[in-house]
């Protein structure tokens, strides 16, 4: 029987895997929040509800129309993204000139309404959503058993995160986005339709949340409150990484997932709070977050 620091490797790697899975969702969700906050200056409290909506769209597609997981990965982010675009056009855009607080209150209120509606309709016990047939089963790696679906979630979310980072940091489109984050008036005076860019950015950030929701459906089941529980941790991740930093939110998301997983192995009592402990420490030492710059 192999052990590391007196812990069976099976347990260690098992928790590490759970940490990476959670980290994948933290990263995807905090990335969307960071992109939205950067350009819109709005802390999108509806993010958790939009994640949940992504999962529900996948569930509807499967149960009402027979459309499976792979199409849901495409359709749900677009559908929920369009919903986001409508929210931005009709409500958020009224708030840009006001304090952060108004955006936060509006999006928080919306989250409560959306979650309330879903809960009314579907209760709070989860609806099952099964793993797509191509990804059932798993690999025996010798030191642990790796379910295929979980491996897919980690690899795919990492790929989505890195592609998003690449587009924002290395492409022309991304340079518009970065510039508009700094000085939207000037970018607009160069001839770029910044309001449209803001709308699409919100739609994109929301779409990322919905994508995470689809990926989560087979793991956590589909539940009206799935986002509410997760989003609090994700906000802690965002605070630790630093508001608005793209790479920061990716690294922090995965990193904190792992830290949380390892805490479950070494000191299980603290596993539910470790992220908030890290947050408190980071806030005390670097108030702008690990990767953030003071605005």
């Amino acid at each position: 029987m192999t052990e590391i620091f007196g812990i069976p490797t099976q347990a260690l790697f098992g928790q590490l895997l759970i940490g990476l899975i959670n980290g994948s969702f933290y990263a995807l969700l905090s990335l969307g929040l960071a992109v939205i906050f950067g350009l819109l200056n709005i802390i999108n409290f509806t993010h958790g509800a939009q994640y949940m909506m992504g999962a529900f769209v996948a569930w509807f597609l499967l149960n009402k129309t027979g459309i499976g997981y792979w199409w849901a990965l495409v359709i749900a982010p677009i559908a929920v993204g369009i919903f986001g675009v409508i929210i931005e056009r009709t409500m958020l855009k009224q708030l840009y000139k006001l304090d952060h607080l108004y955006g936060l209150l509006l999006t928080f209120g919306l989250a409560l309404i959306i979650q309330g509606l879903f809960r009314n309709e579907y209760g709070s016990s989860g609806l099952p959503y099964s793993i797509p047939s191509q990804l059932t089963g798993g690999q025996n790696l010798g030191f642990m058993f790796l379910p295929n679906y979980r491996a897919w979630v980690i690899v795919f979310s990492l790929a989505v995160c890195l592609s998003t980072w690449f587009v924002i940091e290395k492409t022309k489109l991304g340079s518009y986005l970065r510039a508009a984050t700094e000085n939207p008036e000037l970018v607009r005076a160069f001839g770029i339709n910044v309001p449209r860019m803001i709308t699409l950015t919100y739609g994109f950030g929301v779409g990322l949340a919905a994508l995470a929701g689809v990926m989560a459906a087979p793991i956590y089941s589909v539940n009206p409150l799935m986002g509410e529980n997760l989003i609090i941790v994700v906000f802690a991740v965002v605070v630790i990484g630093g508001m608005g930093s793209i790479m920061g939110s990716i690294v922090t998301g995965f990193g904190l997932g792992i830290i949380e997983g390892l805490t479950k192995v070494f000191y299980p009592e603290a596993s539910a709070t470790v992220i908030f402990i890290v947050m408190a420490i980071v806030l005390a030492i670097r108030p702008a977050g690990l990767f953030g710059t003071q605005k």
Binding site: K172, S175, Y176, R178, A179, T181, E182, N183, E185, L186, V187, R188, A189, F190, G191, I192, N193, V194
Partner: protein, 230 residues
């Protein structure tokens, strides 16, 4: 090329421009002179559509701009180089240079811009705001030359720069003029403005109070000094 009539502008509640009237003809270099706070920057921003509320008439190539948003105004062929330069810190020099999209044919290509400002070529991968003040000004001017805009509005391009750089910017403006660009310049540095301008408008309290042609400059020197309070 540009005709401004009865232009009023507000920042929130404060009424800043009180009926500006002036013209810029094609190929001219026109300078707005005036004390700090007279409303020169606000005038450029109002032409560009960058202030919250404005009224009056702003015609560019006979098309009315007053109702258009700034992105549409830029697309008509007007480019603005702000007083604070507006170099983006999250973009490197090359990205800053290539940021403004082409709105018309006939802009300079990147090679021409490097000829005007050789320093930029050496620093393409540096963070935009790591450049010296003079280099940032060159970048701020250089990037609007690519767009094909025919009217360039430059807000105090020599502010705070060393004399050699001021000369370089003066040569650039002269060269742009020879290439047929129309330039609306804001300058506090009257000695600099003298070397490039065809005409001057004096701005006071959000109004044009006088116009002086470069040919009449010597005769008007005392008057101008009185306006500027120097």
């Amino acid at each position: 090329m540009l005709e401004v009539r009865g232009l009023n502008a507000w920042y929130g509640e404060s009424h800043i421009l009180h009926g500006m009237d002036f013209d810029v003809a094609e190929g001219e270099v026109v300078t707005l002179l005036g004390r700090n706070g007279a409303g020169k920057t606000t005038t450029l921003k109002s032409v560009m559509g960058m202030v919250g509320r404005r009224e009056g008439a702003v015609k560019f190539q006979s098309k009315e701009l007053i109702k258009l948003p700034s992105n549409a105004i830029a697309r008509m062929g007007i480019a603005f180089c702000p007083e604070e330069r507006g170099i983006f810190s999250s973009l490197n020099v090359q990205e800053n240079l290539l940021l403004p999209p082409k709105v018309r044919d006939g802009g300079l290509d990147v090679g021409n811009i490097y000829e005007l400002f050789p320093n930029l070529r050496e620093r393409l991968k540096s963070q935009g705001t790591k450049l010296s003040g003079g280099e940032q000004q060159m970048l701020a001017i250089g990037r609007i030359l690519r767009t094909g805009a025919r009217l360039l509005m430059l807000d105090e391009p020599t502010e705070g720069l060393a004399p050699v750089i001021v000369q370089q910017i003066g040569r650039t403006i002269a060269s742009l003029k020879r290439q047929g660009f129309t330039i609306l310049l804001v300058e506090q540095n009257f000695r600099f403005a003298q070397t490039v301008a065809d005409r001057y408008y004096v701005v006071e309290h959000g109004r044009v109070v006088d116009m002086v042609a470069n040919t009449a400059l010597e005769a008007s020197m005392d008057k101008i000094h009185a306006y500027l309070g120097v």
